[in-house]
Every structure is written in C-alpha cells, then in structure tokens.
C-alpha cells in the first residue's frame, strides 16, 4: 500500500529544513489554530490552578448550579464541586498522560522498528512477529485489565496505554529504516567505518524522523482519548481529577444537568481536534513530496 518513491533532490534552497517546515506550517491556518488552542490548554493546565485556585474535590456550592450563576462560570457537578476547577486540574492529567504515554509509545516503537529495519534477517522476523502479537491484543480491554490488576496510578495508566499503542510506530519506523538504509549516504557512512549504533542513531534516525514525528503527534491525541475512556469507566487514579472521570461520574445525572457531561467532553474534543490539526499541518510541512497536492 505504501508507495514510497525515492526522494528526488529538490533544487537548492538557501534555508534550513526546519525553517522551511516552519514556513510551511505557518501558512496552514487550521494547523496554526490548532497550535493556538493547544497552547491555551497547556497554559490553563500549568497556570490555571494559580490563577483560579480551589480544590477540585471540595464541595463548594449547591450541586447542579447551572453555569454562570452564583459566580460559577461553568457551574457545579452532582457533588457541588466547581466544574471549572475540575476542568483545569483535568487538563493537567490529560496533558501529562498524553505526553508521557506518547513518549513511551514512540520510544518502544522506534527501538523495535529501528532494530527490525536496520538488521533485517532473524532480528526483523522476531521483532515483527512481536509487533504482530501486540496488534492482536484488544487495546482498550488489555489496558483495562492492566490498570485494574496492577493499580490505577498515573504511571500504570501511562504504561498500559504505551504497551498497546506502539505497533503502528514500529511499523512506520521499520519502513523508513528499510528505505533509508539502502541510500548512498548510509553506504558512505558504512564505508568510512562508522559503527552500527552510530549509523542507526546519527545517520538514519534523523532522516527517518519526519513521519514518526507526525505519528507521535497523533499518538498524543489518541493517548488522551484512551485515558479519557479508561477514566470514564472509573479505571483511574481516584486521587486526581480527569476529564473522562468527570463525565463518568456525572453521567447518571444527565437528566438534571447535561452540562456536567457536555463541557468536559467538549474539552477533550477540542484538545484532540487541535492535536489532529497540528498533526495534519506537521504532515504537510515535514513531507515535502506531499506539498504539491
């Protein structure tokens, strides 16, 4: 399916590749809007608790206070907790899990994919069988079991998400490594006696990164959705507030107050949407071949 052609050398341009990618990215209005939204979520998560302080678990007012009344911008939930405070604290969890799980995913994926794509032979056979094996596992179900059995702490949730999410990254990395290792500059490096480790890390990996970066960006979004799903089901650290958990705990009361469910959901939706727009923008900016489209 992947019809990959060898890249044609572009006409010399007096600009660094990253600079050019940024120029491309900046022209993409949707991606820039996504980036802006992400910045806002990040700022809300990092600085929010200091600007709008409060304990997300504390009952502060009558339950089901509708948004905008009595000074509560987003109202209160079924236990009378301030929804805005909960959302701000939830942003921290979503971002933290999203980033760390995506990082774990990418690290496992790159390691497996790079070794498979570089060494080929039985190493590749073994690692790709391993990848296939992990793709057979039912993602959400498997991580539900991990979290339920080994304790619902944030590191465990991160691990549970990372373990089931890495195969696509490994596949992409492997494909890139297989393509690049045949290129002339790799042969040249090898002829100069560069060690395999150096070839993998310093010669091939930097050139294989663009599609992996795009995938990693999307992984952040998937991990946020994943965490939201787990916490919606109640499989989450009871000592922190997260967006999915707010929805899960309030969903019996949608007859009384639908906003306690719609608002946190909107937060997840907007954040993941922003990430996906940024991902699309990165894809266009980092894959010069696609720019013509």
């Amino acid at each position: 399916m992947n019809t990959q052609k060898t890249p044609t050398p572009s006409t010399a341009q007096a600009q660094s590749p990253m600079g050019e990618a940024w120029r491309m990215f900046r022209r993409d209005h949707a991606a820039m809007a996504g980036l802006l939204v992400l910045m806002l979520v990040l700022i809300a998560g990092l600085a929010g608790p200091y600007v709008y302080s409060g304990d997300p678990f504390e009952m502060v007012w009558a339950p089901f206070t509708t948004p905008g009344t009595d000074g509560f911008v987003l109202g209160t939930d079924y236990l009378g907790r301030d929804l805005l405070v909960m959302l701000i604290h939830g942003a921290r969890v979503s971002i933290a899990i999203g980033l760390s799980a995506a990082f774990l995913t990418v690290v496992i994926g790159i390691t497996v994919g790079a070794l498979a794509g570089f060494y080929r032979g039985w190493v590749e056979e073994l690692l790709m069988r391993l990848t296939e094996f992990f793709q057979v596992l039912p993602t959400l179900l498997f991580s539900m079991v991990i979290v339920a059995l080994f304790g619902a702490s944030l590191p465990m949730i991160t691990l549970a998400i990372g373990i089931v999410s890495w195969p696509p990254v490994a596949r992409i990395t492997r494909a890139e490594f297989m393509r690049i290792r045949e290129l002339e500059y790799v042969t040249a490096a090898r002829a100069c006696g560069v060690s395999n480790v150096k070839i993998i890390l310093q010669v091939i990996l930097p050139n294989a990164l663009p599609p992996i970066i795009v995938q990693a960006a999307l992984m952040v979004g998937s991990a946020i959705l994943f965490e939201a799903g787990l916490s919606f089901l109640g499989l989450t650290d009871p000592n922190v507030v997260s967006w999915g958990q707010i929805i899960g705990s309030n969903r019996q009361y949608i007859l009384d107050s639908s906003y306690t469910v719609t608002i946190p959901g909107l937060a997840i939706f907007v954040t993941v949407l922003a990430i996906s727009l940024v991902g699309d923008g990165l894809n266009d900016a980092l894959n010069p071949k696609l720019r013509k489209r």
Partner: protein, 325 residues
C-alpha cells in the same frame, strides 16, 4: 494451490499466535497481586486459611506456575475456558450468551459505516470541492477527536431525553410482550443509537480513506482509457474505479477487528447494552479471573480470524494481492 498453502500456513501461524496470547494473559493474571481464592473469600466476607487452601486446591492454584499454565492452555485448546464463580456459569456459555448483542452492535455499525463511508467517499471524490467533500473532512475530524462515549451521551441527551425517539438503555423493553416481530422491532429500536454512535468512529475512517483512494484511482491511466472509449462517467466510477478504490477500505475495516470488543466496551457502557463489552467491564471490576482470561482470549481469536477473513476477501477483490507472497 498456492492460495490453499498460504491459507494453511497462515492458519498454523494463527494458532501459534493464539497460544502466545494465552501465555501472556495467563502470566499477567498470575503476576498480579491476589488470586481467585482471595476474590472468592472476599465475596464470602472472609474465610479461614483452611478453606482458602481448599479453594486453592480446587482451582489448582497450589500447583507450580508452569503446570497451571499448561493445564490452562490444554483446556482452552479443548474449548474449555473455565468456570466463572462470579456468574456461576461456564465462561464459554457466558461469552456465547453475550455475543449476539455485541455482534448486532458491531456488525450493524460496521455495515452502516462501510456503506455510508464508500458512498460519501465516492461522491466527494467525484466533486472534490463540493459540499460532500467538506462533510467528509468534517466527519473525519469529528470521528477522530470526539470520545465515543461522549458522542453516545450527546445522542442520548438529544434523541432519548429531549426528543424521546429512542429508549435510553438496555436491549429489550420489559413491557413489550411476545416474540417474533414485536421482539425484533423492540431490539432494533433499542439498537439504533448504539449503532449510530459506534458507526461515527468507523465512518470517519472509511469515508476519508475511500475518498483518497478514489481520487488516486480516478487519476490513473486505465480510468482515462475507460473514459476514452466512451463509457459514461457513472460506469467508469462504479464499474471500473470503485473496485480498486475499495480494497484499502476493506484492509482498514479488517484492521478494526482488533477494536471490535474494545470499541464496544465504551458504547455498551453508555447504553447499558448487555454485550461482551459490558461483560468484560463487569468481570474486570469483579476480578473474575476466568471470565477476564476468556474474553481476552476470545477477542484475540476474533482479531486473528478477522485478519484471515480480510486476507481472503482481499484476494477475492484484488487478484494482485497474494501473487507476491
């Protein structure tokens, strides 16, 4: 002949893969703190060490790990997934009992998504700047970014609570008596919202992929030839191009098998749909080890069989597939 041989080796490999899944799941459950005896004792409100030892002996938990593992794998290969103490029922019959509900949900959603996705994809590929094209882009973004349980709750709020068109939960209405058509209609009525919710995820994937594939195919030489020999645009699209454009969509649909039960868990949780997802969730919360292991095994089985079927379907649709292997 090569087709048969390839299928044979793939099946053999599939069985090995299944055993590997069994080993991993079983080891994982074994590594977790606490065991079946603890759970049973807990549900009885405590038990003295003698009874605990008795339970462990009954379940073979006093045996060394490798023997337990071998016994379990041997049993599973004989289609015995053990006995659920939580539901007081063999796990196999438990799974088979819940399977139809999930099948209805998942197959309904898949069929709806495939049909709508291909139709939307083709229409938008024929007119890349039209309304449908923007709709597909919007759908794709929404389907990716919206958490499926949230979509489900939004549908509930809109169509059940406010409009009152559909029931809020479950699969049957106790007030609807009798079997036959009344029963079927009742189930269908309950199934509409869950199917639409689950469909929203797949539809986003399929419509976007179908549009991309169709655009690519429409630009190829043989389509130009077909046009040049004077075929109508309709014939070119539906008779010549569609067949090639649809094969990546089939591949993707096949890959979704891995998400079948996973996806169903969240949708079933929203609508209290009595399927495998709900069973999985309840057994995980209750730490009903045999049921958890059974469902994990069953979903791996579904994925592997699904991959085999996809492979065969692809070979049938696209003769180029399989020739190289």
């Amino acid at each position: 002949m090569t087709f048969l041989r390839a299928t044979f080796f793939r099946s053999l490999y599939a069985i090995l893969l299944l055993i590997a899944v069994l080993v991993l799941n079983f080891s994982m459950m074994h590594m977790a703190p606490g065991d079946v005896a603890d759970t049973i004792a807990q549900s009885m409100g405590g038990a003295d060490p003698e009874i605990m030892a008795q339970i462990r002996a009954d379940y073979g938990l006093d045996q060394p790990f490798l023997i337990q593992l071998a016994t379990y794998v041997g049993k599973v290969l004989n289609f015995d997934l053990g006995f659920s103490f939580f539901y007081n029922q063999p796990v196999v019959s438990l799974i088979l009992e819940r399977l139809p509900a999930t099948l209805l949900l998942v197959l309904g959603a898949q069929l709806l998504a495939l049909t709508l996705g291909v139709v939307l994809g083709v229409i938008s590929a024929r007119n890349p700047n039209g309304m449908t094209s923007h709709l597909v882009t919007g759908l794709a973004l929404f389907g990716y970014a919206a958490p499926v349980f949230w979509t489900g709750i939004l549908c509930l709020i809109a169509f059940s609570l406010h409009l009152g068109w559909f029931p809020t939960s479950g699969m049957r209405d106790v007030t609807v008596a009798g079997g036959g058509w009344a029963k079927l209609l009742d189930i269908a009525h309950h199934a509409v919202l869950p199917i639409i919710t689950l469909c929203s995820v797949y539809l986003a994937l399929y419509s976007r992929l179908c549009r991309t594939a169709m655009l690519e195919v429409l630009g190829s030489d043989y389509v130009r030839t077909a046009k040049a020999k004077g075929l109508s645009a309709r014939q070119v699209v539906y008779k010549h191009a569609l067949k090639n454009a649809v094969s990546p969509v089939i591949t993707l649909a096949g890959l979704q098998f891995s998400a079948v039960i996973s996806g169903a868990v969240l949708v079933e949780a929203v609508y209290s749909w009595p399927g495998l997802g709900t069973l999985a969730f309840q057994s995980i919360i209750a730490r009903d080890t045999p049921t958890i292991l059974g469902i994990l095994f069953f979903s791996a089985l579904v994925v592997i069989v699904g991959n085999l079927l996809t492979d065969i379907a692809l070979r049938l649709v696209d003769p180029r597939v399989g020739g190289k292997q």
